[in-house]
Symmetry: C2
Subunit: 467 residues, 2 copies
């Protein structure tokens, strides 16, 4: 076991000398094994380890006992220990996330915090070879390309390392037995019952019985092979991206020479270009990539609308992909759908600029009546600017119940003639912001916010007065 | 349906104008649909189609009725029709092949024969999108790399084309219904029950129910994506192969610069090198490829033994991979195991050269007492040269029963003093050739032989006399 783990660590250059390593520990077999193994080889590797535990508060006493168990284990082995409590049920309801996703978000946030606090370089996570096989099967069934078949990467972002990725679950369990580690068993597995557990408890045993007893190894080998190929394709396309692409503000130009490259490469260059603009390629499918390749074959001046306000323009064979962050709204029906970027409502002489920020952005929350912040994940619906309607209700910040908008206006001493002119920013049917006055409690940024939506409101009236 | 098929044909450049196309037709839904569709679009494509059917004689009357059915269908549509009868049961027993493999071998041989006979350019086969999905799943479960995940190629060797590869089984069945084609249903599916049928009838329905209703499309999309990536990797590594490799007789030199390439590329260069020597990479695993890459890091003069008589030698960083086709046998125990290539038995001053030939090699079967041909697939055991033992038996050609070797020697009027000196070529425990005199009936080349083993015997005595 130790040799196999050392091999994985070396082959993937997981640690450097003097690294401080946060070990993510739930108390279950995988993470206890990881902690125990790393503790045994830490001197050999010249690293320092620190354990971090998130108490999800999902199983009452048992969750607390998990925490105590890990804490005592660390104290016995003289390992620094940090923990936090997150009410995942509340957190997941608030965010509208599955408890799996919420747990994951809470854990990663905590580990990153401890990492900054203690000045650590790495975060070690206990994924094993079975997790890997399950992930690959799930991705194949849902639809993926070779990057997906690579599965869980041994190292991500040069920070997250997975020393147990080559070790099977059985081997981990017998290591725990042999070393007299009595890991905590979590029977209420957070994992989505309808997918990963079904893969683990039904599909893989079925494949073992009927096709290949050794399916875990086989899928891990597939991951290794595909990883090498994917790495090469990524390397080449990164080089070509640098060669052929000009990064500008909210725009990227792919020069026409790039389109002479093989389809495997130009497709990756286009994906990288979209990533440059949006940080990810969610919502972009193979079809959109092919549309861009086709556009390049058309005559100059032709263009294309893609998801997420992305526009593509053929400029004498060079392809410009840009973020259409300015939307000019001409129609005038007193209700306007708004998009990320700049929304210009000409008839009202209003500009609303919307952007997303990660929690790590240093947001200036200081009082500004015309820039407000909302919890991105609490917003489930379209963003709309409109004016008051009969029956409108609102939950002022710090309150839990609805209040009639009419009563709010009365409380705020807004004269009748002005009430119809005060813009309301709504998420779907719910008022989030009475512009210039109050924001709703429902969408407020709190300690669990991961991603923030910033909305900035400008109009000729702005500087003079409140509405 | 027609549009989808035409799209597949165009995207894969399946046909050229004036192509003669052999359509492989079993009488089942897939191939009848293929024949019907191609017949409808043949003028548009400017191709000529010819139907070819193999009667496998596996289901008595029913097999004959299949043949009649296809024949009459073709005659109604005025399509040229060729057929042949192969007793697959006998054929598979003779060859020790599964009936699936035997059927496949017989069909491909017949189609290629008709192709030469009528001067056709293409052979169209009715694989559909479900076959594709099943193949991919089977390969993933058995173990594969990205080349395997590509699955069934739309075009192979620029000869075999699969116009229905994007059409699902259900769509084919409803096409048959709509066009009043009443295909023959073969209930005794030749397919190995323990793998493909299990995938088709159990695994895919299970995935549909539990994970993805659209799994067939998803897997076909995976194949398309991976195909593009694999094509690029093959293209680059072919170019690098040409650049860095010197092809010699029974040897290939990979120059040291090749080892600076990315692992994805050097691994493919090495595979191509082995292919150059052996025509395939059967018996070579990832481990062997890594061994060669490691050898290159060692000092000059180090070497490596690989399967199939392949040797690898590090010559100042250049890697020479060669076919060790000369085996010098020094030991002298009167029983020698022989290998493909040149076997030199020094003490006896004997050279035996063994090679494999495909049936298409123009073999000169004319009487030569010292070069003999055997059916490669009838040989299940080691090839051995030895001398007579007590109790040896032999089945002379044209006979079905064993004869005592002693009686044979008497019949052939070979004097007693010579009998111990006559070499016997054996396959395992069975005598295949009394060198200089007779070959066994058991291993003879017949009309069903696909691959031939040629054994050439040379010794000082050769030219003077028989043994």
């Amino acid at each position: 076991m130790l040799d196999k783990v050392l091999k994985t660590i070396h082959e993937n250059s997981m640690f450097s000398v003097n690294d401080k390593v946060i070990v993510a520990v739930s108390g279950g077999p995988d993470s206890m094994c990881l902690l125990h193994v790393l503790n045994r080889i830490k001197d050999k590797l010249n690293i320092k380890i620190i354990a971090a535990h998130v108490n999800h508060c999902l199983r009452g006493n048992e969750s607390d006992e998990d925490e105590v168990y890990v804490k005592e284990f660390c104290s016995k082995l003289n390992i620094d220990f940090y923990s936090t409590r997150v009410d995942i049920n509340r957190f997941s309801k608030e965010k509208g996330l599955s408890s799996e996703m919420a747990g994951r978000a809470a854990r990663y946030e905590f580990f990153e915090n401890i990492k900054s606090k203690v000045g650590a370089q790495k975060i070690a996570i206990a994924h094993n070879a079975n997790d890997q096989a399950e992930t690959i099967l799930m991705r194949i069934m849902r639809g993926t390309g070779i990057a997906g078949i690579v599965g869980i990467k041994p190292v991500r972002d040069k920070i997250f390392v997975r020393p147990l990725i080559k070790i099977g679950r059985e081997e981990i369990e017998s290591y725990c037995k042999k070393e007299h580690i009595n890991p905590r068993i979590d029977n209420t597995n957070l994992t989505n019952i309808y997918s990963r557990n079904k893969v683990r408890l039904e599909l893989i045993p079925y494949i073992k019985r009927n096709f290949n007893e050794d399916i875990i190894t086989t899928l891990n080998r597939l991951s290794d092979t595909v990883n090498v190929d994917n790495d090469y394709l990524e390397y080449i396309s990164s080089q070509k991206y640098k060669l052929f692409c000009d990064e500008k503000k909210d725009e990227i130009i792919i020069h026409k020479e790039a389109f002479l490259e093989h389809k495997a490469i130009i497709a990756r260059i286009i994906r990288k270009s979209i990533c440059y603009l949006l940080n990810n390629t969610y919502n972009f499918e193979k079809k959109h990539i092919l549309d861009i390749i086709n556009l390049q074959l058309h005559k100059t001046g032709t263009n294309l609308d893609l998801p997420k306000n992305i526009k593509v323009y053929n400029n004498y064979g060079d392809i410009s992909i840009y973020f259409k962050n300015e939307k000019i709204i001409n129609k005038d029906n007193n209700e306007y759908e708004l998009f990320t970027g700049k929304n210009i409502i000409q008839s009202k002489k209003i500009i609303i600029t919307i952007k997303t920020l990660s929690k790590n952005n240093r947001v200036n929350f200081k009082e500004n009546n015309f820039i407000k912040y909302f919890d991105y994940y609490k917003i489930k619906d379209k963003i709309i600017l409109r004016y008051r309607k009969k029956g409108d209700k609102f939950i002022p910040i710090g309150m839990s119940g609805n209040k009639k908008l009419k009563d709010m206006f009365i409380d705020m001493k807004i004269e009748k003639s002005l009430r119809d002119k005060i813009p309301l920013i709504c998420f779907g049917s719910e008022i989030a912001w009475i512009v210039g006055y109050r924001v709703s409690d429902k969408f407020k940024v709190d300690e669990n916010t991961i991603k923030i939506l910033e909305i900035k409101f400008e109009s000729e009236a702005n500087n003079d007065r409140r509405y």
